[in-house]
């Protein structure tokens, strides 16, 4: 409903949580993301930026995982 709240994951501010809405990648990249547990409604927290600002570490289903912006911007989320 609140479509304006849907943003790519790399736009989520550090310390905020967001809910996965859709993946806009396909093929193997999409598979890998699903294997990481990034299915719809998965809650993700942006934990920490690396010194150069990219990649960013996210808390996903009990583990901290670093995603580059080119991967994270293919994950659309709703910021809580």
């Amino acid at each position: 409903m609140m479509n304006d709240k849907i943003v790519p994951l790399n736009f989520v501010p550090i310390g905020k949580t967001a809910k996965v809405k859709s993946l806009i990648s396909d093929g193997i990249l999409r598979r890998r993301m699903l294997d990481l547990g990034l299915i719809s409604d998965t809650v993700i927290e942006a934990v920490q930026k690396s010194p150069s600002g990219d990649p960013i570490a996210y808390w996903i289903r009990g583990a901290v995982i670093a995603l580059r912006s080119e991967e994270a911007n293919k994950i659309l989320v709703e910021v809580n």
């Binding site: 890998r32 583990a63 670093a66």
Partner: protein, 452 residues
């Protein structure tokens, strides 16, 4: 067509996944698990020095095998590549899947990380879809305890329908029980009742239709329900593998391919295209894992990772991240070089002292000069140099690096440097190989598609 390996039967030999047994009664155990869950610690603790490594047939993926004895039975443990799934997205995943499916293991041990068990259950569920002879090893249980995570192994065992054994492989805790469970599973001494993974009714119907067709062809040599699911999922590599390892060519089965096509199209229409269908299948397992996680894992202190995060924030911060990393690496190099000088000198003195004695011995035996030249001045002296120069730095550097690895600092290095390495068309992981002073070619090819 001429003589190809296919036509001469060489292919059969090359593709042989069978593990050589010392006696026919030996049991073959596959050891699988996600990467970084302490799988190799479990492997090393169980098999000790009885190991050897090779490559998987036709693949440049390492294959380590080891032996151990339990209850008077020889177990051959095969360390299959660590993967997050068995969907054959990469060479490692294909190797892992193929060994579980076609290597005829008597049991599959799936090693999981107690500190993020839910995430690891995806692989457990995928393995259970292929075979019921699974033992789940919940490793790093002490680390979980430290983080105030409680794992209810009995609950999990009940829900999964296979043994679940908590271990701490580093301190050998729980390994005896693990070996008992493996023994019982390999000898079918326990009743397993693996969790039934049921998909959406339309998918289930499709599976049943395809499964019936496959059952006639594969004759119980492989789980037909699982093959049907993979085929509906669009994974054609499974057909190749069935052809390769079971010698059953399903490619020329027009009836099957036609039915498959039909069913897949019907399903796609039902589920907004084929991509949706794939997502549904994967998502389903992840949701089950989530549910199992909720039942079997209690976080007694939800703030448990706060200290870890604080440390992380400093180690990877914009201001301190790189300086801390550079000074730490510089310190290690300094320690290696400066620290190695003294023992190097001692070693050289000691070894060259022996050389003088050897020369004396050769003279007293009146050995010919050329023999003394070859053995003492040639072979011995070279070895003495190499040992005294190389051994001390290695004996300092490798333990220090292992310590950094155990502390989990290396992934932080990769995280800090990824950006800079990406500019050089490499990725952060390669920082580590460079630190070690050598660039292993394999690593360059290994850039995962997701990160390339």
């Amino acid at each position: 067509m001429g003589l190809t390996s296919q036509s001469t039967g060489l292919a059969l030999w090359e593709n042989d996944l069978n593990i050589e047994k010392l006696t026919p009664g030996d049991k073959v155990i596959a050891l699988s698990g996600n990467p970084n869950v302490g799988k190799s610690t479990v492997f090393n603790s169980l098999t000790g020095l009885n190991q050897h490594t090779g490559n998987w047939p036709g693949k440049t993926v390492t294959n380590a095998q080891g032996r151990y004895r339990h209850n008077d039975v020889n177990f051959i443990m095969v360390d299959i590549p660590g993967t997050y799934s068995l969907m054959a997205n990469s060479v490692e995943e294909e190797v892992a899947r193929d060994f579980v499916c076609f290597g005829n293991p008597d049991a599959v041990v799936v090693v999981t990380d107690a500190t993020c068990l839910e995430r690891n259950l995806n692989l457990v569920l995928q393995t259970l879809e292929i075979t019921a002879r699974v033992v789940v090893c919940v490793n790093l249980i002490d680390e979980a305890k430290r983080k105030k995570i409680k794992i209810h192994c009995d609950t999990l065992a009940k829900r999964l329908g296979v043994p679940v054994i908590p271990t701490n492989a580093r301190s050998k805790k729980g390994l005896e029980k693990l070996m008992d469970a493996v023994y019982d599973t390999a000898y079918k001494r326990i009743n397993v009742n693996p969790i039934k993974i049921t998909y959406d009714e339309t998918i289930e119907q499709a599976i049943r239709r395809v499964q019936d067709k496959i059952r006639n062809r594969v004759d119980g040599k492989i789980n037909d329900r699982w093959v049907a699911l993979k085929l509906l999922d669009g994974d054609e590599t499974i057909l190749e593998s069935i052809n390769k390892y079971l010698g059953i060519n399903l490619f020329d089965d027009c009836g099957l391919l036609e039915l498959l096509d039909q069913t897949r199209n019907a399903l796609s229409d039902n589920h907004n295209g084929h991509g949706q269908l794939r997502d549904m299948i994967v998502s389903h397992l992840i949701r089950i894992a989530e549910e199992l996680g909720r039942e079997a894992v209690t976080f007694e202190d939800k703030q448990y990772n706060h200290i870890d995060r604080k440390i992380d924030r400093i180690l990877t911060s914009r201001i301190f991240g790189l300086p801390i990393m550079l000074s730490l690496l510089a310190f290690i190099f300094w320690l290696t070089i400066a620290g190695a000088n003294v023992p190097s000198e001692y070693l050289a003195d000691f070894l060259f002292g022996i050389e003088t004695k050897l020369t004396d011995l050769f003279t007293s035996l009146m050995a010919p000069e050329w023999l003394h030249g070859v053995l003492v001045l040639g072979i011995y002296r070279t070895i003495a140099w190499v040992v005294s120069v190389m051994l001390p730095p290695m004996a300092i550097f490798f333990p220090l690096f292992t310590l950094l690895e155990d502390l989990g600092y290396l992934p932080r290095v990769a995280f800090n440097l990824d950006h800079y390495f990406k500019r050089a068309c490499a990725h952060g992981k390669q920082a580590l190989t460079m630190c070690m002073g050598c660039l292993i070619l394999h690593d360059i090819r290994e850039v995962p598609p997701a990160l390339a």
